[in-house]
């Protein structure tokens, strides 16, 4: 349903130079598929997500959702940014339902859904707090709840667990998987962590920098539901090694 065909994007820098953020990127993501993107900083992962979110337009190539060209944010697409980006004047609960309030959908039932998500994210009792009273990790969890409360068909997550400590990170990964299994949707999940990518995703897209290209697409053939036990499996090691080799080995795509 999400389809990028030979997409390229070049930014002008302030000093008049050019940065090619994406070059010849072709990816498609199915309706209920969980796709992870890994790659070094600056290889265009955020740009790719922002493109799917409708925040930037490709210079060349085509980006379509269900066959329709994306020119602005599409209904049913939710984005979790790298930073929490909470509204400082709203309490936690109202931050979570903010996207719904913009379209008059913050009905009592939706608010209850928001509270349930906050509970699942370990934020019970913090509903009435203001963002600045929360730690960075807690703020990021609020932002994740804000994405999920919209019941999106496409969920875009840009290093969502980057600000969390390792323990919370693992907990949140499993919680996300559970939620995804209960409410199937297309997820594009950007991460720096190879093991996180393999644990979560059906497919891992490895990107290489300057210009941002797809270096490898790794199919993860692990049964679901996933658990940390699978980290010991041969398939987990195969995928991790493949990804690692692509990131550090560089070079062109193997055929």
């Amino acid at each position: 349903m999400i389809s990028l065909a030979r997409v390229g994007k070049t930014f002008k820098t302030r000093r008049g130079g050019h940065v090619q953020a994406l070059d010849d990127v072709t990816i498609s993501v199915g309706a209920d598929e969980f796709v992870a993107i890994v790659g070094a900083s600056g290889c265009g992962k955020s740009t790719l997500l922002r493109m799917v979110a409708g925040l930037v337009q490709p210079d060349i190539g085509h980006l379509t959702l269900d066959g329709k060209v994306v020119t602005q944010a599409t209904e049913g697409t939710a984005m979790v940014f790298q930073a929490p980006t909470l509204l400082p004047w709203m309490n936690v609960e109202r931050n979570v339902t903010f996207p719904l309030s913009l379209s008059g959908r913050d009905v009592p039932e939706a608010r209850e859904r928001g509270r349930a998500l906050l509970r699942a994210a370990g934020l019970a009792g913090f509903e009435q707090r203001m963002p600045r009273e929360l730690s960075g990790g807690m703020q990021q969890r609020v932002a994740i709840c804000r994405g999920l409360v919209q019941k999106p068909r496409i969920l875009l997550m840009d290093e969502p667990f980057g600000a969390l400590d390792a323990l919370t990170r693992e907990e949140m990964s499993l919680a996300l998987l559970e939620l995804w299994q209960a409410n199937p949707m297309a997820v594009i999940f950007v991460t720096h962590s190879i093991s996180e990518a393999v644990l979560l995703a059906d497919r891992v897209i490895v990107m290489s920098p300057r210009p941002g290209r797809v270096a490898e697409i790794v199919e993860v053939d692990l049964p679901r539901p996933r658990s940390f036990d699978q980290e010991a499996s041969a398939e987990f090691h195969r995928c991790s090694k493949l990804i690692r080799d692509r990131i550090y080995g560089g070079g062109s795509r193997a055929h």
């Binding site: 409708g54 925040l55 602005q72 984005m79 980006t85 509204l87 004047w89 903010f98 913009l102 203001m130």
Partner: protein
């Protein structure tokens, strides 16, 4: 919000002491150098001149306060929509901003007599003059706040399919509120200036009028009394803005007075 009297005294002691020493120094200098009262009256002389005529002074104060408040209200009502218009489009901004700056390069004090002739020596024209003196900093700081909204918050709005109006009212305006209040503090002080200027030029009541008529009869202590009341009015308005800000913008960093919180 109950502050114990002890804490209140401790917090306000410096300003109380500095005010008292100012008054005392003033009194001493006037007496020591024998300055004549119609040039610079002592605080005690001002007090004794003002107290017997206080109902009259209270009336003039009420008149001025009314003009100040109406002028401030007009400034808010005009400045906020204007700021949103300027912040919402580059073209509008390019068309309006230079004109605004132009109005600011004209000295409003010079404009006051002309306006009073054109509009008549009434309350309405005094409010207009007050507004003209006060509104500009409010527009400028509001525009600054609207444009200072972090791009991430604006992008959040975009991904949530916020309309342009929603982006302005639900994201940019709340973000800009601390800036708006910053401008409002300046505007409140300027409103007092504007009202007095308007009363100098054309009024039959108000503290500005009182100062002029008192000086015409060399009743300097009464004029000084009016000046002191104007100063108090300015301070009170400033405090009013601050209290309002505390109530409706509790997240504002304008209010982080960390000095007071030491132990």
């Amino acid at each position: 919000m109950l502050i114990s009297t002890g804490a209140w005294t401790r917090r306000n002691l410096p300003v109380i002491l500095s005010t008292l020493s100012l008054l005392l120094g003033w009194e001493i200098v006037c007496r020591a150098f024998g300055i004549r009262p119609f040039l610079l009256p002592t605080p005690s002389a001002i007090w004794t001149a003002v107290v017997p005529v206080w109902p009259n002074i209270a009336m003039h104060t009420a008149v001025t306060l009314r003009t100040v408040m109406l002028g401030l209200l007009a400034s808010i009502v005009v400045s906020l929509p204007l700021a949103m218009l300027i912040a919402s489009s580059r073209t509008v901004s390019a068309a309006i901003y230079p004109m605004l700056v132009l109005t600011q390069s004209v000295p409003k004090v010079a404009l006051a007599p002309i306006l009073l002739v054109a509009l008549g020596a009434n309350e309405f024209s005094r409010v207009i003059i007050t507004f003209l003196v006060a509104f500009f900093p409010l527009v400028v700081s509001s525009v600054a706040g609207l444009l200072a909204t972090p791009p991430e918050l604006v992008e959040l709005g975009r991904t949530c399919r916020a309309t342009r109006v929603q982006e302005l009212l639900r994201i940019r305006l709340p973000y800009a509120l601390p800036f708006v209040f910053g401008g409002l503090r300046v505007a409140a002080a300027l409103c007092v200036v504007g009202a007095v200027v308007a009363e100098f030029v054309g009024a039959d009541s108000g503290l500005g009028y009182l100062i002029q008529t008192s000086m015409a009869f060399f009743r300097t202590p009464v004029a000084f009394g009016a000046v002191v009341i104007l100063a108090i009015m300015g301070i009170a308005l400033f405090q009013l803005v601050e209290i309002t800000e505390r109530l409706i913008v509790p997240w504002s960093s304008n209010l982080d007075n960390n000095f007071n919180e030491e132990k």
